[in-house]
Amino acid sequence: MDLQYWIWIAVGLSFSLYIGIAIWSRAGSTKDFYVAGEGVHPIANGMATAADWMSAASFISMAGIISFGGYDGSVYLMGWTGGYVLLALLLAPYLRKFGKFTVPDFIGDRYYSNTARSVAVFCALIVSFTYIAGQMRGVGVVFSRYLEVDIITGVLIGMGIVLFYAVLGGMKGITYTQVAQYCVLIFAFMVPAIYISFLVTGNVIPQLGFGSSGADGVYLLDKLDGLHRELGFHEYTSGSKSMLDVFCITMALMVGTAGLPHVIVRFFTVKKVSDARKSAGWALLFIAILYTTAPAIAVFSRTNLIETVSNQPYKEMPEWFDKWETTGLLGFTDKNDDGLIQYTADTTTNELTVDADIMVLANPEIAQLPNWVIALLAAGALAAALSTAAGLLLVISSAVSHDLLKKMVMPNISEKGELIAARIAATGAVCLAGYFGINPPGFVAATVALAFGLAASSFFPAILLGIFSKSINKEGAISGMLVGVTLMLFYMLKFKFGWFGGGTKSDWWFGISPEGFGSIAMIANFAVTFIISSRTPAPSKNIQELVANIRKP
């Protein structure tokens, strides 16, 4: 059957499934809308968290980035999984015990101040908007690549679907669609991976496959190190970044993960405290399936690519080469007119440009898998993008309707009124996200690092100290968050956008990249919080009792 039919079937079936779930799980109260009525089973919540967490970037781009970076790519693998340890041990159980709806709720109550709440709302909105624009763009790109509609139509279809189940079902609808989306995306990711692993190494488990040897008896990683040396790249298994920078980026991503509001809020949806711990464990397990497979795909496709193209005649390239060349993801210019493809680290002689996304997207074609696998991949990429977008949407709408409206502007608003406000806010957020998806601001890629840096430098210290210290007061927490966020924004604007005089790599403070600077801003936040708290009055008895209470099981 024709590929286009398969894709329409896969996408159509998965979308009808999401809509069906949305109708079945409508939200009737604000509790349903914000935290799915606090009745989600820990394993279901684990799956939903995994889908929420793994975005279009994890699904499409990560394996490719690792494939080009080798060891350097490890920062994403460790950084985007290690944060769950922090969540499970330090944050999730206590926030669940606290038993409110949002992250600003906790910050506002624990630090008995609407200023603290406003700072938290501001950070939650920036972080979520940064992220969601990228997701809608991802939806548009997948549609345009696989279904041959233009990006705008793609974004509009994606908006329509998310709007339908997020506005109707709130967190309840989102949770159960995310469970379905996890199943779709993990199946779509694993089928080609297992197939390719078997093809290259004879081992069906990709995690073991990439430590085995190919048909020629040489270990894949050794072969790849050799190929990299020949072509002038740094060795695959050793990195090009400084150890301090790798350390800081990994730390910033881990702490940022633990501080992201759309991840934290998922732990408010389970029945009890022990379930919050359990669902963090399940979530990481479900994420680990994809995250331990991605580096294997990276190695297979990297070896495959170099062996297929390096010093081979352009005319003899397989069919997929032409196809991806027309999409602009692959580019070849014959600089020395010898008809062969020179692929090297030296930009003056290199003739091939490869977009990182191709490593996952073109995999099934390179491995000559049947058409239905390619269709599955399209549905999987859409599931990854939509599930993350929906989770973020909920954070935005609850920040507006609950934290701003109910808690600050209109405390007397009725339950029904708040629910309507939440739905209106969600609708507005979808439209804004769609606008950014169609007209992507140039800074989307740069600001993803900003989102993690901001979460690490604002929320994490405030929440952590709010639980583990009784003496931290509002003055300390507010000034800490403000210093952390300001420092992070300053560094980012200076080195990513050229404000405040700009600067290049050699001007980085201590040689730390903007991606890793979140760690430093976080340390500054901790330091300021401690110093100011020790010089201002301690929190009242009530607050100290609140802290004692959330520590009880």
Partner: protein, 78 residues
């Protein structure tokens, strides 16, 4: 009684977070070069920790904590 519960919890967290640091920052970043001199199968050990081992470690750490805390919670209920 409540106090011993919290103290035990803090002790579990300290031990498990040390392990968290060792498998990722220790084996995967700080001592990666030393570990890379050891090769097991096709993997250099430091590289394996950075791209696989640390993640398996994280999963094991969380499930250990779940087990320990569930046991601790039970002693509280008696």
């Amino acid at each position: 009684m409540k106090n011993t519960y919290w103290k035990k919890n803090i002790r579990y967290i300290t031990i498990l977070l040390s392990l968290w640091f060792i498998v990722s920052f220790g084996c995967g970043i700080l001592f990666v070069e030393q570990l890379n001199t050891i090769q097991i199968g096709g993997f250099k050990l430091g590289f394996w920790f950075a791209q696989q081992g640390s993640i398996f470690g994280f999963v094991a750490i969380i499930f250990t904590y779940i087990y320990l805390m569930n046991k601790l919670d039970q002693t509280q209920n008696k």
